[in-house]
Amino acid sequence: MEIRSEVVTQFTQVAREQGLELARLTDDLELIQSGLDSLAFAIIVARLENVLGLDPFSASEDALFPVTFGELVGLYESAAKQPQ
């Protein structure tokens, strides 16, 4: 739950900073419809790496790109379970 709330916090904060309108964050929300652009995603991923110490995107060359918000949260949650 802690990971999910941190992801939500970063989405909200970065959207505000970038002056972008964020869609309601439900699990089936497609990231591409969230209102955020690539730059905003890049910033979120960098901040989450800072806060959570996790970067599931860079961990593997075969990492799949998450399509929905739920998949993105899941990606971080399963990265947290892996031994670092």
């Binding site: 591409i32 419809q33 593997s60 060359e61 790109f65």
Partner: protein
């Protein structure tokens, strides 16, 4: 000044190429609002038939829409002496400098004349999405110089001069004249990577579906699918974003091209998984050096043998950076006091650093610390200059941080003034203040993703701040 049509493989102008193409007259160029038929530009005009007034002039093409850009470029090539293509994020504050450096005496735009402020003694020619009959339509008069803008260290753009021949040097004949090719690109055609695709379409007889900054990625992919695109190009960052959309599955390209940024193995694998039947090619090109080579083996980096393997392009690695000499190089930078574009031996130093491992070269980033955010160049010095305007800032260092989404991000390390010593609380408000300052004066991709306060910068023995690539 009339151009002799000596060799049919080298056209005097784009219109000449369109005329020559004959059987491909149904090729279109479309954006999200309108479409033009390429052959209509042979005798028609997007410039309200006023192209003749622009003959022999140095013309600034400062359009809002990519579609009108395409029409204007096709119509002006061979007619204007020079055309300067303003990129989509062109800032009007640089207008006087660019006009002066290019000796521009005309502006073509789909925006109202008032947009450009006082443009006394400048010919203004409007440009529309619709093509009306009655253009200049004649033979080429000039070997038009094509000028592209790239961002310079201080934020003032550099004007890179090309010719139709140098821009199209990498474009071979149509692969198979019988198959219908439909191109699309995430790139804007006002930048080198996108312009390559436009020129390819005009010269080889292909249709083109343009992207639009107004349009969400998913909608663009759906539109590209509706056009039946067969070939598509973009930067690795644009591709990462596309693959995050279920709409990526709507297209079934036979050819996927990446350029403009380092293509890592992750994005190459992801594209292979998404488009198992496509040829996936990453290319090295820059506005100054032109198209150098393509990598077709699906692996990051490129085989060391590539350096010797391309007949028309000479390449070497000197002091760690890739240098390129070919007929596809730009000729020079325009403007008074402009730096040299080539080294004494005629090579363009790309500034891209290479490292060789097991017979393959890999790109390691830029020598000058230039940061590549999603294919767009950020010069640390330009961002530092803005940050340093803040009264509480003593000095700053802007550096890159790797990002799995945009390749790189901009990070700023800031040293604050000691007097008065900032408290923790007002440090936060200074941070917000600096970001506000940056957002006001820089394009969004140049604004730091994070600002760290540090006690001092590391200064090298040379007395320069130590810049290192993360």
């Amino acid at each position: 000044m009339r151009v002799q049509q000596s060799n049919r493989s080298e056209w005097a102008s784009l219109r000449d190429a369109l005329r020559d193409r004959g059987e491909f007259h149904d090729c279109v160029i479309a954006d999200d609002e309108a479409a033009i038929t390429q052959s209509n530009l042979i005798s028609g005009s997007a410039l309200y038939g006023r192209g003749g007034e622009l003959r022999g002039r140095s013309v600034l093409v400062a359009t809002a829409s990519q579609l009108t850009t395409a029409s204007a470029l096709i119509e002006l090539d061979g007619l204007a002496r020079r055309m300067v293509i303003c990129p989509p994020d062109f800032s009007l504050q640089h207008l006087p400098f660019v006009m002066e450096a290019a000796g521009a005496d005309a502006i073509v735009s789909d925006r109202p004349i008032q947009h450009f402020g006082r443009t006394r003694s400048i010919l203004f020619c409007p440009c529309s999405k619709a093509i009306a009959p009655g253009g200049e339509g004649g033979d080429a008069y000039y070997k038009t110089e094509w000028v592209l803008l790239t961002s310079g260290t201080t934020g003032v753009p550099k004007l890179v001069a090309h010719s139709l021949a140098s821009l199209t040097g990498a474009i071979g004949p149509a692969e198979n004249a019988r198959t219908k090719v439909v191109w699309s690109t995430f790139y804007d055609i006002r930048r080198y990577g996108g312009l390559q695709i436009l020129l390819r379409c005009v010269l080889t007889g292909a249709s083109l579906a343009l992207s639009s900054s107004r349009e969400p990625t998913a909608d663009f992919l759906a539109r590209a699918a509706a056009h039946g695109i067969t070939h598509i190009s973009g930067t690795p960052s644009q591709w990462r974003r596309a693959l995050m959309s279920p709409a990526a599955q709507l297209i079934a390209p036979e050819y996927v091209r990446l350029s403009g940024e380092i293509a890592d193995q992750g994005i190459l694998n992801a594209l292979r998984a998404s488009y198992p039947n496509a040829r996936i090619v990453h290319a090295f090109a820059s506005t100054e050096a032109g198209v150098a080579f393509e990598v077709k083996d699906g692996l990051a980096g490129f085989p060391a043998s590539t350096l010797e393997g391309i007949a028309e392009v000479e390449m070497k690695v000197e002091c760690g950076s890739l240098r390129i000499r070919s007929s596809r190089n730009a000729s020079r930078y325009l403007g008074k006091d402009a730096p040299a574009l080539k080294t004494d031996d005629g090579f363009v130093d790309t500034g891209d650093m290479l490292e060789q491992r097991e017979g393959r070269y890999y790109f390691m980033g830029r020598r000058d610390g230039t940061i590549n955010v999603g294919g767009l160049k950020v010069h640390p010095e330009e961002v530092e200059a803005v940050i340093n305007q803040h009264p509480a800032v003593r000095t700053s260092l802007v550096r890159t941080k790797k990002s799995p989404v945009t390749g790189s991000l901009v990070i700023a390390d800031v040293v604050l003034q000691r007097d008065p010593e900032p408290t923790r609380c007002n440090a936060r408000s200074i941070q917000d203040d600096i970001l506000l300052l940056c957002r006001e004066s820089l394009s969004s991709y140049k604004v730091p993703a994070a600002i760290n306060f540090i006690p001092a910068l590391t200064v090298a023995e040379s007395g320069k701040v130590l810049r290192r690539n993360a």
